[in-house]
């Protein structure tokens, strides 16, 4: 007998089979990785431009509204809001292109700005009450079309009829570029503002707050109930038909399509209990039903993995069953259980279908400040914007997906860290 029999047919067959298997595995992995990479690049390349916005500085003189520019320091915010500066603002904007005199053409000048310019000017006055001069430079948000043109998302070399920007507006843009009057800045309002019909003004602040409140409700409801139910079922409940029945149903619950939970929320929470529509509270309660079985199943698995010898050790020194479970079993199971909870929360964060049914799909301009205010959520915001045709919403859709993915990645990383850090080492 020899250990170097290279002509052993059987061995060679086994080895080449192993080699082929490895090749298949690597191919599968590359395919999966390539797919993820493709997805991320395509989202990132359309979405990143939403994180900055185009601004145009204009000079505004306020002498026609107040005789002394220092008087703003004495005005309250309400008083500034009540000022009528619309026509003054328009006049100052027209001054950007002094040689345009035609009324119709003047209107075109206004169109290169976001229609909320009056509010932006008032906000500037409110923020800088103490330092208002006779002539002030104020940066105004450019309209979505100019914004997209500047970001290079609109082709210019097509006939005027098929463009959203007229030849005149393009010439305004070129002139501003020459005068160095087109600037970009970080799109901070994107994170704080609610939804809007105008892409340049729309933000995910409302969706973020809605998702936040929804998740808080989900946590408050599903974490304690899930943990207690799992601990009871795994550690205390007698093994009988009834507990088997409960177990099967919890597993079934985890497999129910999410839209069914939406119907349940609609039928019971909204119609029977009359809870407020479109709110994070109802969304959270509905999603809790989905998260609950995930948490229960993960926690039970974690508890089951704790060696029974630990329970016996505690019981044998005279601990009650509850002491054995709470002092020794649960701490060991906690990392696994929390990991499950975080995965459940991540699912809830990305869930859309049930929220559509309970009305969290409404167009909400105001950022919700409590869980009972009407609100959207991140995935629903994506759904809403993905339906809009404007190029500005296309980039915002991708940017929102980036935010959502970022949050999910953070959640999953937390789960990994918890597991690594707190797992009991035997």
């Amino acid at each position: 007998m020899s250990f170097v029999n290279l002509n052993d047919n059987n061995l060679q067959k086994r080895l080449s089979r192993e080699f082929r298997f490895k090749v298949y595995c690597i191919m599968a992995m590359t395919f999966a990785l390539g797919f993820v990479l493709f997805l991320f690049t395509s989202i990132f390349s359309t979405g990143y431009s939403a994180f900055y916005k185009t601004m145009i500085p204009i000079e505004i003189s306020l002498s026609s509204v107040v005789s002394d520019s220092n008087s703003f320091a004495l005005m309250t915010n309400e008083e500034i809001n009540d000022l009528s500066i619309y026509s003054l603002s328009k006049k100052n904007i027209y001054n950007l292109f002094p040689n345009i005199t035609d009324r119709k053409e003047k209107k075109e000048i206004l169109k290169i700005f976001s229609y909320e310019f009056e509010d932006e000017i008032k906000n500037f006055l409110k923020d800088n009450k103490e330092n208002i001069n006779d002539i002030n430079i104020i940066y105004l948000t450019a309209s979505d079309d100019i914004d997209q043109l500047h970001k290079g998302n609109f082709p210019r070399d097509i006939p005027e009829k098929r463009r959203r920007l007229s030849d005149l507006q393009l010439s305004f843009y070129d002139e501003l570029i020459l005068e160095n009057k087109i600037e970009t800045e970080f799109n901070f309002p994107f994170f704080t503002r609610g939804d809007s019909r105008e892409p340049e003004l729309a933000g995910i602040g409302g969706a973020l707050a809605g998702s936040f409140f929804t998740i808080i409700v989900v946590l408050i409801l599903s974490l304690p109930f899930g943990l207690l139910a799992a601990i009871y079922l795994q550690e205390f409940a007698p093994q009988n038909k009834f507990t088997d029945f409960i177990e099967i149903n919890i597993n079934n619950l985890a497999a129910v399509p999410s839209i069914v939970f939406g119907l349940l929320g609609l039928g019971i929470l909204l119609n029977t209990f009359g809870m407020p529509r479109s709110t994070a509270l109802v969304g959270g309660v509905t999603l809790s039903l989905m998260t609950l079985p995930t948490i229960i199943i993960a926690t039970r698995a974690a508890l089951r993995a704790v060696p029974p010898s630990i329970r016996e050790a505690a019981l044998a020194v005279g601990a009650t069953r509850m002491q054995a479970v709470m002092h020794h079993v649960v701490p060991v199971a906690m990392p696994g259980s929390l990991t499950g909870a975080i995965i459940g929360i991540a699912q809830a964060l990305g869930e859309t279908a049930p929220l559509l049914l309970i009305g969290m799909v409404a167009f909400v301009v105001d950022v919700p400040s409590t869980p009972v205010d009407p609100s959207a959520s991140l995935p629903v915001q994506i759904y809403l914007w993905a339906e809009s045709a404007e190029r500005g919403f296309v980039e915002k859709t991708s940017a929102t997906i980036m935010m959502l993915l970022g949050l999910l990645i953070i959640l999953n990383l937390t789960a990994v860290i918890i597991r690594r850090k707190f797992e009991t080492k035997w």
Partner: protein
Amino acid sequence: MNETKIITNNVNVYYGEKQALHNVSMNMQANEVTALIGPSGCGKSTFIRCLNRMNDVIDTCKVEGTITIDGYDIYSKETSVEKLRERVGMVFQKPNPFPKSIYENVAYGPKIHGIANNKNELDEIVENSLKQAAIFDEVKDRLHEPGTALSGGQQQRLCIARAISVNPDIILMDEPCSALDPIATARIEELMEELKKDYTIVIVTHSMQQAARVSTKTGFFHMGNLVEVDKTEVIFSNPSNKKTQDYITGRFG
């Protein structure tokens, strides 16, 4: 002879339909080591687990007959299993320290029973228990390191320290040396010699030599029956039952 500590009378144990022990009646004396021997699956663990009611944990397990400790029926309605287990400690076949510090392992029992009034008393109990279990010198500098990081033999002595930390009367040991090397085994046997001055010890073992070395009395189990129980010398030199004879001479088991 010492006073009788444990009396079992016609104990029958069932796992569901299956009967694991048949009419076991046996006495165990205070301050003695009683050894239980027999082939695998004959019911030694089942029997020893009746003595601190660890079988209560198993849903399907049913115990009949009477078991008294100091004349008190431990299966009576008024018995609290927690109090019983405080007085009847147990050491398992596989060392099973809690995944906590060495100190926590030993302090846990006294803590839940409220035995120590303050931190100093607790420290003292931990130290004494570790000393009695002959492991103190090895771990005194790392009391706050995890108990699970010790070697197998050290872990088993830690478990013994944990069992004696609540000051029991009786210590049950189910094959405490089966996972240990001869040196660690010898240390634990020495320890038993020491411990029996203060405690009543019941030990299950697969090693005939160990039974012969440490015990005063030996019981031989076979297929759920207590075949013979007598002074250890008698069992090993002059057993009255043919099966015992065959087992100790290695003809089966």
